[in-house]
């Protein structure tokens, strides 16, 4: 009797162990993973649970792919989402000691400022460099990389698919006749702009808009400073203000600028203010940006 129950117990334990090992095997299949990031192939041994993001876009991506609960600290410029663990860590003047003090198992950066990638790796900390991209494909790649690195590969693929579908729908919502409008993207009130070669410029290109900054970028910087005269003479159909938060610009201030009252965008109510930071990042909220642009582009 005792013998029998012993066998039963042993069998039960064995089954449990098997189940557990099977589960472990499934988990082990996801990790280690190799991520092809900008700092080369990065091997991540196990699912990170102490992630630091020093990149505002990286922070938005991590939360979008469902890795938010694994993030323990974000830099002082990461202001979205609101529930991210904001700290005073800086992505511009990173302090290695302060970062290491959080005992992170993964650090996401968008710039290798001051050799931070190498310095953190020396301390045995895994680093993913996810720099600024210049097209949507690059942005999607980074979302999938961050998903894969944090054990959310599947979800990140789903998120990217959703973004792609939304963007296609938004692009189609603008009728063909309105696809040839000219656009002026304003970065600050001294008329710095962005050409079609930049990430934000590519979005306008997807719509089919003509960007007035293109002809002005004689030095191919991507971000020329235009003269007021040139902007007014180009008579843009759409004016996009990416200096609403920093510099308080809006449709009214644009209309009040000397000589600007007569341009097409002002006359047809196609001056649109966007969140500065959304327009300067390459994260999932770019779809919201595209939606705002489409809304004014549809105006006859």
């Amino acid at each position: 009797m005792l013998h029998r129950s012993l066998i039963a117990v042993v069998a039960f334990v064995a089954v449990l162990a098997l189940a557990a090992s099977g589960g472990a095997a499934r988990h082990a299949a996801a990790f280690p993973v190799t991520i092809h990031a900008a700092n080369g192939d990065v091997v991540i041994q196990k699912r990170p649970t102490r992630v630091i993001s020093l990149s505002p876009t990286g922070t938005e991506d991590l939360f979008a792919v469902g890795a938010g609960s694994q993030v323990i600290a974000v830099d002082n410029d990461s202001d979205y989402p609101k529930n991210a663990p904001h700290t005073t860590l800086s992505g511009y003047t990173p302090n290695i000691e302060a970062i290491a003090g959080y005992k992170p198992d993964l650090v996401v950066v968008s710039n290798d400022i001051g050799g931070i990638v190498g310095a953190l790796q020396k301390l045995g900390i895994t680093v993913l460099l996810e720099p600024a991209v210049d097209n949507m494909a690059g942005a999607y790649d980074e979302m999938r990389q961050l998903g894969g690195a944090t054990g959310h590969a599947e979800q990140s693929t789903k998120v990217v698919g959703g973004l792609e579908r939304s963007l296609t729908k938004i692009l189609r919502s603008v009728p063909k006749a309105q696809r040839h409008l000219t656009v002026y993207h304003e970065l600050d009130p001294t008329y710095y702009s962005a050409t079609s070669a930049t990430f934000i410029g590519r979005i306008y290109k997807l719509f089919g808009f003509r960007n007035i900054a293109d002809a002005a970028d004689t030095t191919h910087s991507g971000y020329p400073q235009l003269s007021a005269e040139y902007i007014v003479a180009s008579n843009p159909d759409i004016v996009v203000l990416a200096d609403t938060v920093c510099c308080g610009q809006n449709a009214k201030t644009v209309a009040a600028r000397p000589g600007w009252g007569g341009i097409a965008a002002v006359k047809h109510g196609r001056v649109v203010g966007v969140d500065d930071s959304v327009a300067s990042r390459w994260g999932p909220r770019i779809v919201d940006f595209a939606r705002a642009i489409a809304a004014v582009a549809r105006k006859k």
């Binding site: 710095y192 002005a216 235009l226 040139y230 920093c246 000397p258």
Partner: protein, 354 residues
């Protein structure tokens, strides 16, 4: 020795003012610059169009402007205020530079010597970082103006408290101290607000890309009053050029004269900086050019500095907006790019003259 100096002082005071040809030449240079400034831009507007359009704006002249509404707006709302603003800022910086060089008997003195630049820079940075104003806001010029004046006031107090030696050099050293201190604060604030980095940077480089008649109206009164004050003291600058003691022995209240000139030059400079940002070299290049070409007497240097400085900055701005047209270069790049080599020439010729 003392007799020699006094004789020297008298000679300096008797030195001649601006001769007629130079006066005409400087005037022609300024007029030419203004016309070029008005005529050149990304939007091509012919000379006759500009003249007829200008006439059409005059009362009792019945000429119809041949320009479209857009060209009218470009010419009179965007280009014209830009040219005028560049002229008054250039004139102010150059005349203030000449006054500072005279007051401190230092050929390297420029209008920013006593901390105006650092103070204005800090004021502007604070306004951009905490005021969320951007460059077109009203707060920015005010903050930069107040910052500039405060910095120079601090320099003056520090320089006076430096001891019995109330000489020019203790003021200059105080200026260096204040500049370094304020620059440190400015850098700190800027580094803490990296999102405003480009705004601050654009301001520090200076420029007229957002010039408007409103800015002209803001700066013009200060520039007029302080330039006039400096022009009226031009003979005194000649007296001062022979030395504090010698000037005192001629009956000049040196500390008071110095204060008056510094206040005038500073108020004008701060007003100019508040609408244009920091523009390097104008205050040094222009007075030195006049010294080399025309006369070392302040009776020539002071008035000519204003006229030539105005023309120079208008031309520099034309380059700033045409070299990479229709994009823009920061004007500080243009003035320094032409200013630095020029300054090397000035230094060389000064050495060979000795």
């Amino acid at each position: 020795m003392a007799v020699d100096s006094i004789r020297g002082a008298e000679a300096a005071v008797r030195a001649r003012g601006v001769s007629r040809p130079w006066r005409l030449l400087a005037g022609a240079f300024l007029a030419g610059s203004l016309l070029v400034g008005l005529g050149v831009g990304p939007v091509g507007i012919g000379a006759t169009g500009i003249v007829e359009s200008a006439l059409s704006h005059l009362p009792f002249v019945h000429v119809h402007s041949p320009l479209s509404a857009l060209e009218e707006a470009v010419l009179w709302q965007i280009r014209a205020p830009r040219v005028v603003l560049a002229a008054i800022v250039g004139g102010m910086l150059a005349i203030a530079g000449s006054a500072y060089q005279g007051v401190f008997r230092n050929p390297l003195a420029d209008p920013y010597l006593l901390g105006v630049a650092a103070g204005s820079g800090l004021g502007a940075t604070l306004a951009i970082a905490y005021g969320h104003v951007g460059r077109s806001g009203q707060l920015l010029p005010l903050a930069s103006f107040v910052g500039g004046l405060t910095a120079v006031a601090a320099t003056y107090v520090l320089g006076r408290s430096a001891g019995a030696v109330r000489t020019a050099s203790s003021l200059v050293l105080a200026g260096v101290t204040v500049t370094l201190f304020l620059t440190a604060i400015q850098t700190f604030v800027q580094q803490q607000h990296t999102n405003t980095l480009r705004d601050v940077y654009a301001w520090l480089l200076g420029g007229f890309s957002t010039a408007s008649w409103k800015q002209v109206a803001v700066a013009a009164p200060y520039v007029a009053v302080s330039s006039l004050a400096i022009v009226l003291h031009r003979r005194m600058l000649d007296v001062l050029s022979v030395g504090d003691e010698e000037a005192s022995s001629l009956g000049v209240d040196v500390p008071r004269l110095r204060l008056a000139l510094v206040v005038a030059a500073t108020a004008g400079t701060a007003a100019a900086v508040s609408v244009s940002g920091l523009i390097a070299f104008v205050g040094i290049i222009v007075p030195h050019t006049i010294r080399l070409l025309v006369s070392t007497s302040y009776r020539a240097v002071v008035p000519l500095s204003f006229v030539v400085g105005a023309g120079f900055l208008v031309l520099a701005d034309v380059l700033a907006r045409t070299i990479v047209s229709p994009a823009e270069l920061p004007i500080g790049v243009v003035t320094a790019f032409f200013g630095a080599p020029f300054f090397a020439v000035v230094l060389r010729s000064a050495r060979t003259m000795r």
